[in-house]
Symmetry: C2
Subunit: 136 residues, 2 copies
Amino acid sequence: MPETTLTPETAGFVDALKFDADGLIPAIAQQHDSGEVLMLAWMNRESIRETLAGGRVVYWSRSRQALWRKGDSSGQVQHLVELRVDCDRDCLLLLVDQKGAACHTGRRSCFFTAIRDGAPRIVAEIIADPEALYRS
Amino acid sequence: MPETTLTPETAGFVDALKFDADGLIPAIAQQHDSGEVLMLAWMNRESIRETLAGGRVVYWSRSRQALWRKGDSSGQVQHLVELRVDCDRDCLLLLVDQKGAACHTGRRSCFFTAIRDGAPRIVAEIIADPEALYRS
């Protein structure tokens, strides 16, 4: 990871974000060119700083209580194209370049279940074998 | 609002969502045709049921602790095109048709601040006068 230093303006921006009681902020990942919404995950100050400095997207895993460098296990990394924040400064939008499948099920997006004709339906195909993604 | 009854499958789907300790789930609103990510807000069971039944998007306002029928004050309503859920069933993606400005600042999207060239920059224009939107 590049050891790029954040500018004072960017560091101040990160400090001024509104984190919840656990020190987290939700982050939506959107493919920068196609507009696909890929996933929602959570970030803390450290993961935002590392993402902005290094250019690879790093989340905070609430289940593992650890930094989650997306793609370390699966190879399906996300590169940051642009980071945006909403008007309340309590949600991030990450425009990313997602390699392959964002979802652990091997689908491009985590949002693959839709309510259609009065029932939940799976509306996206598996594009990568999840067992192959997480084979160590 | 139409008093449409949810099908048993859809009602069961709503009951099986993973709500947080406050009974809420985050919902991303995306313009269905352009792909613009407009906002993130929160929903409870009741607001999801009303949205699915009536077709107009209803959130839960955490600040007002009340149902928030988007557009009741501003006229900038959201119509639901399709509701999706993620693989963990703890986040919703609403494909919507947004009239005018989703953001209370009068911008199309709430995500109008981006980190560019080492500093936060406003990257979207005001398309509706916020004072006119909220004049009662």
